[in-house]
Symmetry: C2
Subunit: 148 residues, 2 copies
């Protein structure tokens, strides 16, 4: 990226803001944004409780919003920023969108797609984990601590 | 099942009717129903083109409808009937719903979840493939033949 404003950290902060919105709704705090031409074209946060829908992960909603915004089914030139490593469902969705880049915050060794030994996402997609990992993990830790 | 009416074939025929609706909309013809207490609580067909949304598979929509209908996030006692072996995204979604049984028509060696060597669906979920496989495959073959 040529413009220093549009760093991975900049966009991950926007995803974190979405996670905070989820937190305030008593949802597992995961947030996502999708970026195209350095413009955020979709923002979403986990709404599984609010919608009574276990598929309403931040990424799923962001994919639907982004394809709707672009008016096409594919997101090859877009980047997904999400605070938590996507699960298998969301990685499978990423495959169908052909999204070009997946950047996530904290790793999810239990439910993350990277635990699967087979390729799930599109072969051309690039993946980068660990961006603002501490901040992304902290909000989850606080959430689950207060639940206990 | 004690009642002979409610066979797997009976419900798969209902899923096939959904696939036919998709076919009529020029969508890849895949249909699904979700059954709870021998009652169909969700019917859906692939709408990826119509909605411009690559995540709008029949199963995803059926999961959302079924959890909405039951007013809960989980589908442990429900059965999914789908004409094509679910993809990785849909199998990942099935995991989150904890759906008890997955019954599919024709196998999808290329995109089906069973090609993945790791467990994707819920460990307690039962899977049965090949129900009315010929009919489920035929509608797809006709669809793709006319596309060429």
């Amino acid at each position: 990226m040529t413009q220093s404003l549009f760093t991975d950290e900049y966009f991950m902060k926007q995803a974190l803001k979405q996670a905070e919105l989820a937190f305030d709704k008593d949802e597992v705090p995961v947030g996502a944004v999708i970026v195209h031409d350095n413009q955020i074209i979709a923002r979403a946060h986990n709404l599984t409780e609010t919608l009574n829908d276990p598929t309403a992960h931040a990424e799923m909603q962001a994919f639907t919003s982004a394809t709707d915004f672009l008016g096409g089914k594919y997101l090859q030139k877009a980047r997904l920023y999400v605070t938590l490593e996507p699960c298998i469902m969301c990685a499978g969705a990423a495959y169908w969108t052909q999204i070009g880049t997946i950047i996530f915050g904290t790793h999810d060794p239990k439910r993350g797609f990277q635990k699967v030994n087979s390729p799930i996402i599109h072969p051309k997609a690039m993946v980068k984990g660990g961006v603002m990992s501490d901040e992304c993990e902290q909000i989850l830790q606080i959430f689950f601590k207060q639940k206990r």
